[in-house]
Subunit: 333 residues, 2 copies
DNA sequence: AACCGCCATGTAAAGGATTACATCACCCGC
DNA sequence: GCGGGTGATGTAATCCTTTACATGGCGGTT
């Protein structure tokens, strides 16, 4: 490993000058700068990050935890986050918590240990080990939540209006004449699922369908929805609203295996608009979330905090979109 | 931030002792150890990683780069890798290169800068900036390749026998009576795609179908396969073999939109066995790769290298599996 | 009683970069 | 010609941990 000392020796300057050339080139005379850069090239010098971050107390890294990395929804969020991070001079470390609180804590420890400068967590659970840090630093704590929004945890967040989006989905089904509608929600603890449920019920109530809604709790996975959709079909629904596209896929699979046609006999509407949604058979009607933008804004918010400026708004609500494809059709049965 | 010095002061010992309690507890007397641990708890001390890694020249981290994080195939590999890494006392940093050589280089630089101890890269391209490192350290270079296998890059790798797997898929179609078979491959530069093509051609040749095979190059994405499948259908195929499940999804979508039925008129077979494959409509026949195991073995190989022991075998071929579901059926047209 | 060896612990030197402060040369204006 | 300002560079302290080596005490051996 070549160190800054060797570079300094080759260039005939002090280590301070080398350091300056690399971090604030303008403060060094043109001629000296060139000599240093030549030495850097010649030796293939790369600053040692450990030493730098020891000295500066900055890691130039942002940790992004996702509850389930196999869910392509998060992939788009990650990309948005990485882009924004790069623009701000940070790199992103991705952690997959698998919905496991213990793993969440392990990742959160990276923040307490200063291995990373800040944390963006997707999902609804604030890792327990961060409570003291949050209590200590208050709004200056470098923690941002993406996708979900729980007012009680006191962390800035970026999300869509889940209730409104869910209501839009329901209105779409109702407008198509559906009266017997099944809803496959997320787990009951998920605030995002609760918000969506609120929206769905609100829409149903507006049309006097509040009591007819058939609710089943899934866990956002296709497998859970496959199961629940079977029950709903037995219950005679003509439309199923799934709180994720992955669940919509499971539901469509159950519909086909039960011998029904979609959208002929049963309509399906999803949530997320995964890149693959247009390739479902039939192409899926769904609620589009601005996935990349969520990641991007979340990181921007975090960077604001890291720079010490209090961001104007600590809650960002982005716009969603009802994307109508072919999995929904007028009710007839 | 509390440092080791404060812990030492509270416990009434030297920093050396605190350090020893944390890293080699057996070398410290029971009583002292307890006092130190109490102090650690009381102060909520967390060792500073930068300082540690500066001193030890170890980061206790492994970098895992994937070409496309939105592909759920890699999610399973990542999980396997994380597990193996945790067992060996490492944590995994995931990087998404988006097939972009520049991004690959950026991540590879983390290795040269010693930000991570080793690299597992999935995909076929060895980042250019690692060439010197590899030339320098030879087989001791802490770099392992997963999924793909290019004998020429001289890096240990973990993969399945792609040619044999591909041949199995073809044999399955041929046994069902298919003669007009379309193949949607990956990009021509992809060694994995080449291997699979070799296997497919070999199987076709065995049955005198070598000339009839209709080949189209995709890029592993559903969108590309949607396109190519349309062309193949116009060409009158009764079966389509896709080199990824995601492409199979695109193909199935194209089949449905062209008014054909699957598997009634056109059979589809995929490659990977994504968790979602069983929820395709119809459930997808495909080649299962041991995804988790690939990640696990790749990390184990890397850890062997990091520990200085030369692993017994530098190329690991794992077993694949033909999973027959409902997207393939006897040819009839 | 002198000595040896061992164990538990302490002392202090790295490890590599950043940066506050010091220094020096030079120029400007009076 | 001199004081003061400016810009470029150097000196050295600092960030926190790990660990080689030193120390000191104690029990056992001869």
């Amino acid at each position: 490993m070549t160190t800054i000392i060797q570079v300094a020796a080759v260039a005939g300057v002090s280590t301070a000058t080398v350091s300056r050339v690399l971090s604030q080139p303008a403060r060094v005379a043109e001629q000296t700068r060139r000599r240093v850069l030549d030495a850097v090239d010649a030796l293939g010098y790369q600053p040692n990050v450990a030493a730098r971050s020891l000295r500066t107390l900055r890691a130039a890294k942002i940790l992004l935890t996702v509850p389930d990395i196999s869910n392509p929804f998060f992939a788009s969020v990650i990309r948005g986050a990485e882009e924004a991070a790069r623009d701000a001079g940070y790199s992103v470390v991705v952690g997959d918590t698998r919905h496991d609180p213990e793993v969440e804590d392990q990742y959160a420890d990276m923040l307490s240990r200063r291995e990373v400068d800040g944390l963006v967590f997707l999902g609804h659970r604030l890792p327990a080990s961060l409570a003291p840090l949050l209590a200590d630093q208050g709004p200056a704590a470098p923690i941002v939540n993406g996708c979900e929004y729980s007012p009680d945890i006191g962390v800035p967040s970026v999300h869509i209006d889940n209730a409104a989006a869910s209501s839009d989905a329901m209105e779409h089904l109702i407008a198509l004449g559906h009266r017997d509608i099944g809803v496959i929600t997320g787990p009951a603890i998920s605030p995002i699922s609760r918000d969506r449920l609120t929206g769905a019920l609100r829409a149903a109530d507006r049309h006097g369908l509040g009591d007819q809604l058939q609710l089943r709790a899934g866990d956002y996975s296709a497998a859970s929805a496959f199961q629940r959709a079977g029950e709903l079909l037995a219950g005679g629904v003509t439309a199923i609203f799934c709180f994720s596209d992955e669940m919509a896929m499971g539901a469509m699979s159950a519909i086909a295996q039960a011998g029904f046609s979609c959208p002929g006999q049963v309509s399906v509407i999803g949530f997320d608009d995964l890149p693959l949604a247009r390739f479902f058979s039939p192409p899926l009607t769904t609620i589009a979330q601005p996935k990349g933008l969520i990641g991007q804004r979340a990181v921007e918010l975090l960077v604001d905090i890291l720079r010490g400026s209090t961001p104007a708004r600590r809650q960002l609500t982005l716009t969603h979109d009802l994307v109508i494809r072919n999995s929904t059709a007028p009710a007839r049965r």
